[in-house]
């Protein structure tokens, strides 16, 4: 189902990053599963990291199902779900200890607060924060506020030596979004299929 080489290549590049690094992970829609496998399984789980997964694209339940289908251990993945509430699908998230809901992807401060809360709760030495994706957040927020959000969030995570991975979907990325992400990231990784 996934391209093992591609996943390992992503993990290898992430492993080269220094603590507190922020990485822009550019992917196309077809490589999403490789990215999940590479980032969460081959990289984070192998390093015994807790992952805080901010999802603004699809609900945490859907992503969790995908991860489970890929045999990715989700016991150390904590979700900040910004989409279930506006879809009125909060029942599962309210019961799941691994999920925190943000009422809307426009409540960027609340995303930062949930990330901060999970960072404090985490007992693991190394922590990873994944933003999935900047393009989905851009649907709901203007570039000014999104840029400010990224700057404050990534700076805070850097200070705590947490790793940040910002997913960007090439098909939906504008030059403004690319600039915004590049401004806060130390490195860009490409994970695109079919080239």
């Amino acid at each position: 189902m996934t391209d093992t080489m591609a996943a390992e290549n992503i993990a290898r590049q992430l492993n080269e990053q220094a603590p507190g690094s922020a990485v822009s992970l550019q992917m196309n829609v077809d490589s999403y599963l490789d990215v999940l496998r590479g980032v969460l399984d081959v990289y984070a789980n192998k390093r015994d990291m807790d992952t805080i997964y901010v999802t603004a694209t699809i609900s945490f339940e859907a992503i969790k199902r995908v991860m489970q289908a890929l045999d990715i251990d989700t016991s150390r993945v904590y979700f900040v779900d910004c989409i279930s509430h506006i879809m009125m699908g909060t029942a599962a998230a309210q019961k799941d200890e691994h999920a925190s809901l943000v009422e809307s992807p426009t409540m960027l401060e609340n995303i930062m607060l949930k990330v901060e809360y999970l960072m404090r709760r985490s007992q693991s030495k190394e922590k990873l924060v994944v933003i999935d994706s900047i393009n989905s957040l851009a649907i709901h927020n203007n570039n000014w506020i999104l840029s400010e959000f990224l700057h404050i969030l990534v700076s805070g995570l850097r200070a705590k030596e947490a790793y940040t991975v910002i997913l960007t979907v090439e098909e939906h990325t504008t030059p403004e979004i690319s600039n915004m992400v590049n401004l806060v990231c130390d490195q860009g990784i490409r994970a695109a299929k079919g080239e």
């Binding site: 009422e103 809307s104 426009t106 409540m107 960027l108 401060e109 609340n110 930062m112 607060l113 949930k114 901060e116 809360y117 404090r120 709760r121 203007n142 000014w144 506020i145 999104l146 840029s147 400010e148 959000f149 404050i152």
Partner: protein
Amino acid sequence: MPPRTGDRDRCVTGIDGLDTILYGGIPRDNTVLLTGSCGTGKTSLALEYLIHGAVAGENSLFISVTEDSEKLLANIIPYKFFDRDLIKSGKLVFVDLPAMYERLGMTKSELTMEEIDLLVAAIGNLVKELGVKRLVMDSITSVCYKLKTPEKIRDFILKMGKILSDLGCTSVLVSEVAATSTGYSTFGVEEAISDGIVLMANMERRGDLLRTLQVIKMRGTMHSRAKYVLDLTPVGVLLVPLLKGGSAGT
């Protein structure tokens, strides 16, 4: 460069973000007005301030005016750092003011000047007896309703502030204001004679309701005057800066 923190000793609130905003905490012995409309998190923040104090070994007193202490405790956020043994050991004490009114024979709807003195003295004695270093009164507004006139309110708060400060107690007086209020207190007197004002509010932005906190004034220290967004969590109040990009046009 002038010192940012001054020479005043600090009462570290234990609320990380707030201590950062205040450059280390509330200057000791200050009387701070914690003000805001309903549902903004005033009581939770005030309780957290006391719990951190009690955990750090400072005797802490919560004077409840409107809500029964038992009910208050039943609804408390399940803080990771809260242990009911703090209450058993007497580090954290809850007192219901209506019971105190009754004990002092203050049964009328309006207190006289003499009764105000009596009430202040009773609270002072309690603080002295228990060796209280942190006090919360929730809410001062409810007490003010029994005082009626600005003169009496001024008299009460000044005397309370003086006696608590003299006893080395850093106090937080919770004040309720209407959501539409432009002032920081219901009677307009409380804000003028407090050493500090911390404003909590609900801010609407494009249909989203954000809980915010802003320190308006704090004698004895420099402080941030920016607005922060807060969340009430089991690890305590968390604060992040309000994103300015979102304020445009609102």
